[in-house]
Symmetry: C2
């Protein structure tokens, strides 16, 4: 157990979605002096639930508790085992490899996606990285290892789950307009939706509470504000 109290061979990666400027974005880390971009990830302590490990990592990266989180796949191919990548990251940080050789071993990574309110987040790098920043899905840098595949699968799973639950709400502030909610859905699905149909469908689910109108200062009729009614899905 020379692995600093972490389980060997097991890692997690997280695809943290936010919504801003009518676009879906995710958090990406950039490692010191390597030009390497990666998903936020981490390891699991010996006495820690896998899910708790991920929440711990999310808290460190975003400052948030109580995040909407969904596990979607465990990536376990041999092809993703590239010790030279981890070695480069360690060396760029002047770390000796003593006691860290377990990091060069093979890992199976359990991937999660999270949905958060963009405005509440303070992206925070870790010791090995010099940035943790938002990137729009259509403007991602090249990601290391199989992280691009992980992002693709995260988005696909999110789309599949979108119809079952009203998860899109987790990407918005407590109060939001129908138009904002529609824009979230359009960003996730990658297609335009008909305004009337969307509103009719969402309201028919009976889980939105309508509030007083919001006078935005724009040259048009003021929209209602809504909030989510019910337990976190």
């Amino acid at each position: 157990m020379d692995s600093k109290g972490y389980l060997k061979h097991i890692a997690y990666d997280s695809v943290i979605f936010g919504f801003s400027g009518e676009k879906l974005k995710i958090l990406i880390m950039k490692y010191h002096n390597t030009g390497l971009f990666a998903l936020p990830g981490g390891f699991v302590k010996y006495d820690e639930d896998l899910n708790d490990a991920v929440r711990r990592g999310l808290k460190e990266r975003t400052g948030l508790d109580d995040i909407y989180l969904e596990q979607f796949y465990a990536f376990g191919s041999v092809a993703r085992y590239k010790p030279e990548v981890m070695e480069a990251i360690m060396k760029a940080n002047n770390q000796t490899l003593d006691g860290y050789s377990w990091l060069l071993d093979r890992f199976i990574s359990v991937a999660y996606y999270a949905l958060i309110n963009y405005e509440e987040v303070v992206p925070t790098p870790d010791a090995l990285s010099d940035s943790c920043d938002w990137y729009a899905l259509d403007e991602l840098p090249n990601l290391m290892l199989d992280h691009s595949i992980i992002v693709t699968k995260a988005l696909q799973t999110l789309r599949d789950n979108l119809e079952r639950k009203l998860v899109g709400i987790n990407l918005l502030p407590t109060l939001f307009t129908m138009k904002e909610l529609q824009q979230v859905y359009e960003a996730i699905l990658g297609e335009k939706l008909h305004r009337g149909t969307f509103q009719r469908k969402v309201l028919s689910m009976g889980i939105l509470k309508r509030h007083e109108k919001h006078f935005s200062g724009a040259a048009n009729k003021a929209p209602f504000l809504y909030s989510f009614e019910g337990s976190l899905c």
Copy 2:
């Protein structure tokens, strides 16, 4: 690396579905002299893809290659860490623990479900178990650890995926009648479906090929036989 060439801390469990007697059934192992029942599972070799490890295990348990297989969740709570269970199994087999202490360590288990043609399978126990047999979902014995939860989640995921793809077909022989297909769906969903509506919907998907009629010997109009047309989903 005293773990016989397997990755530490990582296991898999498989929920292998078959259809027989109008019921959904799964394969359950019974361990020697312990009264313990469990899902078929195993470990991942150092130079082996996670998915390949599961297929290797399925081949051993069922004799089949090319199985419809879907990963659905990685179970990683600390609560599932109960070394005394594994110890009891080993002792009941007169195994010394020398060289096997890695088996008493904590494991995260990646769970898969498989859909197979019941009639093609020859259930085969492994060295530690004295049976590998079919159990109907509503007549399962008590399963060790969190395996009951794994089964529940497998069934739920299967139901969710059922509408998206025509996966139910994987539970039937190459040639089948519309009634048989409907019975598979009813067994999975746990509810009766309307005959006319079901047939219309399935045929509208355009992925079934109709063959000549099948004279069953029953006192009624002979049904058509169908086969699945297209690539394995």
